[in-house]
């Protein structure tokens, strides 16, 4: 154990002399981005060319797919990440496991955790902190201002009075399982921001919803991601599946699909997401 700690000390002294960090952060730092939102923000502030690897959830913009994939954000592996010789790992707060992160820090790699809260303020904070971590606070402030402007504009367009349309968000988890987004999920947050009522708000987290509860809640519109549509084999397959039978949404064929990262990421495209979902939830009434 003492050998280990002395090794750690040597590593810290050798790899990261204090004071050298800020210089590297500003120019040419090799960044590993963990978390789709963080990656999206880094590209949006012009730090995309400094990324050397991303995690599995980083799928936007398309350039990320050419980068090495370090795996699922909660199952990171220290050695292969070290082999990429990163200067800085910027990760969303759920990244892990703790053991791997400890080793990366011990090896002298700068590690920044970005908090993640599915609210407008949370999105702004995420943008500002990610940009600050990348050494680009001005670009971050500009992106945060622009994001807030678009969010405010989108919220201004949501109907403030009248009945809220009943909506439900579904996430495909493979093997045909569909999980509804309950309270506390970013799906619930975006439905509320777009002026809808979440049918699945009776429970927290993503859970399978019981068919009778679905019939009773009677969603008027079903929201999914593009990947769910692809995974399940098309809009019609979902709408005609027995679990939606008897709902208004299935009868009227109202199912909307969005890019998952845009809709649920609470990043720079939050304004777009609110705007798109608002338009889907509140269609212009035919006269």
């Amino acid at each position: 154990m003492r050998l280990l700690s002395s090794a750690v000390l040597i590593a810290l002294l050798a790899v990261s002399p204090p004071g050298a960090r800020d210089v590297r952060a500003e120019e040419g730092a090799r960044i590993v981005s963990v978390g789709g939102d963080v990656t999206e923000i880094l590209y949006a502030i012009g730090a995309g060319d400094r990324l050397i690897a991303v995690d599995t959830s980083s799928r936007y913009p398309a350039e990320t797919r050419a980068l090495p994939d370090v795996g699922y954000m909660r199952a990171l592996s220290a050695e292969p990440i070290l082999a990429l010789a990163p200067d800085h790992i910027i990760a969303i707060e759920d990244a892990g496991p703790v053991g791997a992160i400890d080793i990366l820090r011990q090896a002298g790699v700068r590690f920044t955790m970005i908090p993640d809260t599915p609210t407008v303020e949370g999105a702004i904070a995420k943008i500002e902190q990610t940009a600050a971590a990348a050494g680009l606070p001005d670009a971050g402030a500009a992106l945060a201002t622009e994001t807030r402007r678009r969010v405010d504009a989108a919220i201004a367009k949501t109907p403030k009075s009248g009945r809220k349309p009943r909506a439900i968000f579904f996430l495909s988890v493979g093997r045909g399982g569909l999980l509804a987004g309950g309270r506390g999920t970013s799906a619930d947050a975006i439905i509320n921001l777009a002026g809808g009522e979440n049918v699945a708000a009776a429970f927290t987290g993503y859970k399978p919803i019981e068919p009778e509860a679905m019939t009773a809640g009677d969603p008027e519109i079903i929201i999914v991601t593009d990947r769910t549509v692809k995974a399940l084999g098309g809009v019609d397959v979902i709408l005609t599946s027995p679990q939606f039978a008897g709902t208004t949404a299935a009868r009227t064929g109202r199912l909307v699909a969005f890019d998952g990262q845009m809709l649920l990421g609470f990043g720079p495209r939050l304004g777009e997401a609110i705007e798109a979902l608002t338009a889907a939830l509140h269609p212009p009434r035919p006269e």
Binding site: M1, L3, L4, A7, V8, I10, A11, L13, A14, V15, A53, T56, P68, D69, V70, G71, Y72, R74, A75, S77, A78, E79, P80, I81, L82, A83, L84, D94, P97, V98, G99, A100, I103, Q106, A107, G108, L171, V173, L179, G184, T185, T204, G205, Y206, K207, P208
Partner: protein, 372 residues
Amino acid sequence: MTAFLDIATAPNAPTVSIQARMRQERRRAAATIAIAAALLVGGVLMGLGVGALPISPAEAASILLAKLGLPALTPFEARDDLVMTAIRAPRTILGVLAGGALAACGAALQGLFRNPLADPTLIGVSSGAALGAVTVIVLGGGVAAALPPVLAPSLLPLGAFCGGLIAIIAVYLIAQRDGGTDIATLLLAGVAITAISSAGIGLFIFISDDQQIRDINFWLLGSLSGANWRALLPAAALIIVGVCGILRQRRALDALSLGEADAHHLGFDPERVKRGLICCCALATGAAVALTGVIGFVGLITPHVVRLIAGPNHRMLLPTSILLGGALMLAADVGARVVVAPAELPIGIVTAAIGGPFFLWLLMRGRAFGGW
């Protein structure tokens, strides 16, 4: 005693050839153990030498020599030192121990139950451990936050170990009949406890969020990536105690293969043997699974492979299985680390993907289930 057992397993063999046959078997046994040991050494060298960071054998050796206070062969980087000592070394040791423990328990339980399907999952240890781990993943957040940061990472292995132990104690107590342990009841109780644990896991999956579901999934597929010295030392002690306890029963297991009554006549107390073996298996697999998660196939297949090559004699089967189990685990782990680098595959996928087909190939090309 040894000669008597060999006669008993081959009652029709003419007396003259027995000695020649025993000599031949002994040579075959020595060769098998030597090959298994060589494979394990190869596995250890791979575990220490292969990884995403290119560390040359000379550098790797220098780092290890420096740790022992010996002069280094070549200079090495501090980063490589960290990777060797904090990642590869504990991981390799965990692979040897966990693979050996699972294979030893598989061999012992197959012998004890006289059933080729037995492995540590059958008597409820793995599923109990899984329930313990899942409980910690889903409900342990608050407890972990209250613990000092040093102890928090130990909560998951501790939960898994306790879960495994509780499950096996329950199985054992249920199987007590008229002062003895009924093997058939033990098996069925294991199946029942596994079902109950699955129900518990299902319930926790239901109340967990999507992230916890991913964590649970990863744990259930196993990984050696959680290896670190702090967790390894107590687990290693438990595994070594358990495996040594199993090894001590090798003759008793041979005797038991003739049936409980015959074993009794040969001077073994079947009750004590059963109790001892189950305790040891619980300790060894409980400690291994606590650190690695559920890793299938190694415990089931390794003893079969050894039996196909070297026959059913437990004095051979147990040590060879331990060596080969460690080697298989390390080989699978290298695969897990390399295939999707810089990410990492859960090792349970690799053991199943390699172990399954390999086992089928062995079965189809040669003798059907050796010894069964």
